[in-house]
């Protein structure tokens, strides 16, 4: 197992480098001059511009710029934005908001998605099962953007249950955005749990468990649920990585100062260093949680051995 993890970690390096270079290339390939844009209406003196260009390596070829960036990265220096603020500070400021949002979303996935899936799977073709099937189709079809507006309109403005923007009200601030962010995965978790459970209920080893005279509860919980939840748990694990990187729309609509909104604002204002820094972090999260899931798989399913 140790060797497997080491090998996997090694394999993540090219992906991490490739993804960050891809973003880096897109951000810095643009011919427009961000330095000039910085001055706005008040033109900067040519000397200042030259100095700034030198500082940000804007005169070098792309790969040299990237190499400079990497050198900094390995020393824990993600560079600074054009106003001289370290990118690391920006991340430290915004990341906690995104982490809280992702946690809220995962909580909803488990509490709503998992429970709905288990109940539907155990009572296949019941009324409740059909409700779950139809409502998950609906939820999957509603774009996050639309869902965000309508939860704001309904639960925020009309009913006044939850705040619709900002983070001033602690946990309550994260309820609506968390629900919106979780919606797609929540529906998927419900579907996955249902299918997996229904499939496992027909498995030969469940028949064996019944033939052994085990009480019904033991048959369902120990010999069906335990096996059925393996793919669900691993999906939720991998989804944490995706949630940490996929909150651009949610954070923007709900005005949450997390890394998603930050990266969007930075893309708009062409703050290359911030964009590359945050995206690299997002990619890291994604890869890291996928690795965690693979390890988790081996823990949950003894048939899987990585050596």
């Amino acid at each position: 197992m140790g060797r497997y993890v080491a090998r996997r970690l090694l394999l993540t390096i090219p992906v991490l480098l490739g993804a960050s270079f891809l973003i880096f290339a897109m951000v810095y390939a643009l011919p427009g001059d961000p330095i000039r844009a910085l001055g706005g209406d008040r033109p900067l003196s040519p000397a200042v511009i030259a100095e700034l260009r030198e500082r940000f390596h804007l005169n070098d070829p792309l790969y040299v710029q990237y190499w400079e960036y990497l050198k900094g990265l390995f020393q824990g220096d993600l560079g600074t934005d054009f106003r001289g603020r370290p990118v690391l500070d920006t991340i430290e400021r915004t990341l906690p908001v995104t982490v809280k949002l992702a946690l809220a979303a995962v909580l909803f996935e488990i509490v709503i998605g998992l429970v709905a899936g288990v109940l539907a799977g155990i009572r296949r073709n019941s009324y409740f099962d059909n409700v779950v099937l139809v409502s998950t189709t609906l939820i999957v079809s509603i774009p996050i953007l639309v869902l965000a507006f309508f939860t704001q309109l309904l639960f925020g403005l009309k009913l006044g249950w939850f705040p619709i923007a900002g983070t001033n009200e602690g946990f309550y601030s994260y309820v609506l955005p968390g629900l919106v962010l979780a919606s797609g995965s929540l529906a998927y978790v419900a579907r996955l749990t249902r299918t997996s459970l229904a499939e496992n209920l027909r498995a030969d080893y469940v028949r064996t468990a019944r033939a052994k005279g085990l009480p019904n509860r033991t048959v369902v919980v120990r010999h069906t649920l335990r096996n059925s939840l393996i793919p669900v748990v691993t999906f939720i694990g991998a989804d944490i990585g995706a949630l940490l990187g996929g909150a651009i729309v949610t954070e923007t609509v709900f005005n949450l100062p997390g890394i998603g909104r930050e990266v969007f604002n930075s893309i708009r204002s062409q703050e290359g260093a911030v964009v590359v820094g945050i995206v690299t972090l997002m990619v890291f999260f994604f890869i890291f949680f996928n690795l965690v899931v693979d390890v988790l798989y081996a823990v949950l399913d003894p048939r899987i051995r990585y050596d």
Binding site: L22, I23, R124, P143, I248, M282
Partner: protein, 323 residues
């Protein structure tokens, strides 16, 4: 007794444990299997109400994209009168008027065209990339596969919206044709470029699975060429999962386009797009909620049409997924 009934019976018998699943002899049954797969699938689809809802909705919006005049109730989306600004829906004007006082129904109806153009174009590009790269990676394996899979990993690690967002933001200042246009083509290409990996993985895994099957070994033993094997025996097996994926993805892309446009990097005015309408409407969400409501509703229904068709297709083509 029809074939379908025989099949159901067999399935029921297997489920009830009344038959033992005997291994079937391995012969080249690609063509027959494909035929029965599709006719069984059609039998299933026909009885699935979700499929019919999806298909009718899909056809409705397709028609709306082709001939919007039929649905706009005679109104011209560009004929506006500021006096009507934000007027509520009425009997004459079902969806009311927007900020500029243009008939909103006409505007929402005319928005279908861009959404569908982008959805279909992007999916076509995705399929092209996915099938090409996936087939090559799966069939040749080894180093080729290693490199292509790694490249797919790189793209996979970047969220779809994020990648497209960056590309579209810098697009206009690059010299690349289409990408620098800020039109539907740019949006479609950007979304396809960051969305082809799943199709590639689907095709790749199908190719690997079929490649190692006995009937392909038999075809090879009889001297069929690599390309012939790939085209005649392997790719037809990948059609079913790819079709399911493509149908759902049209819906996903349409939602993504609206999002990108809403975020300001997709289509630009004076183009007519649901994303732009939602973006413009959000400021008056308290006073004129219909401005967000109608484009959102139509957008959702369009996405739903494709998701439902895709779901129904999956159930029909892969009975194991069905519980």
């Amino acid at each position: 007794m029809t074939d379908q009934q025989q099949l159901d019976l067999r399935k029921d018998a297997v489920e009830a444990g009344t038959t033992t699943g005997l291994a079937s002899p391995s012969v080249d049954v690609t063509k027959e299997r494909q035929n029965s797969l599709w006719s069984d699938a059609w039998g299933d689809l026909r009885r699935n109400p979700l499929f019919w809802i999806g298909a009718v909705l899909g056809l409705f919006f397709l028609l709306m994209a082709l001939v919007p005049q039929l649905f706009a109730r005679g109104a011209d989306p560009r004929a506006c009168d500021l006096a009507d600004s934000k007027a509520r829906p009425s009997a004459q004007h079902w969806f009311g008027f927007d900020q500029q006082g243009c008939d909103y129904l006409a505007n929402v109806v005319y928005g279908a065209r861009n959404s569908l153009i982008i959805g279909v174009t992007a999916v076509l590009v995705i399929l092209l990339l996915g099938v090409l790269v996936g087939a090559v990676a799966g069939y040749y394996g080894g180093v080729t596969d290693g490199i292509l899979a790694r490249i797919a990993d790189i793209f996979y690690a970047l969220p779809l919206i994020l990648g497209a967002l960056v590309l579209l933001r810098v697009g206009p200042s690059t010299g690349i044709p289409i990408i620098n246009s800020r039109g539907p083509g740019a949006v479609a290409i950007a979304l396809a470029l960051f969305g082809w990996m799943t199709a590639m993985r689907l095709v790749r895994s199908q190719v690997i699975a079929v490649k190692s099957s006995d009937y392909v070994a038999a075809a090879r033993a009889m001297g069929a060429s690599s390309r012939r094997i790939l085209v005649r025996h392997i790719l037809p097996n990948a059609v079913a999962p790819v079709l399911v994926y493509a149908t759902i993805t049209i819906g996903v892309i349409i939602a993504a386009e609206a999002t990108l446009t809403y975020l300001g990097v997709g289509l630009q005015r004076p183009a007519i797009s649901w994303g732009l309408q939602i973006e413009a409407g959000q400021d008056s969400i308290r006073t004129a909620p219909h401005l967000v409501l109608f484009p959102s509703l139509i957008l959702t229904l369009t996405v739903m049409a494709f998701v439902m068709m895709g779901d129904a297709l999956r159930d029909a083509l892969d009975p194991r997924q069905r519980a």
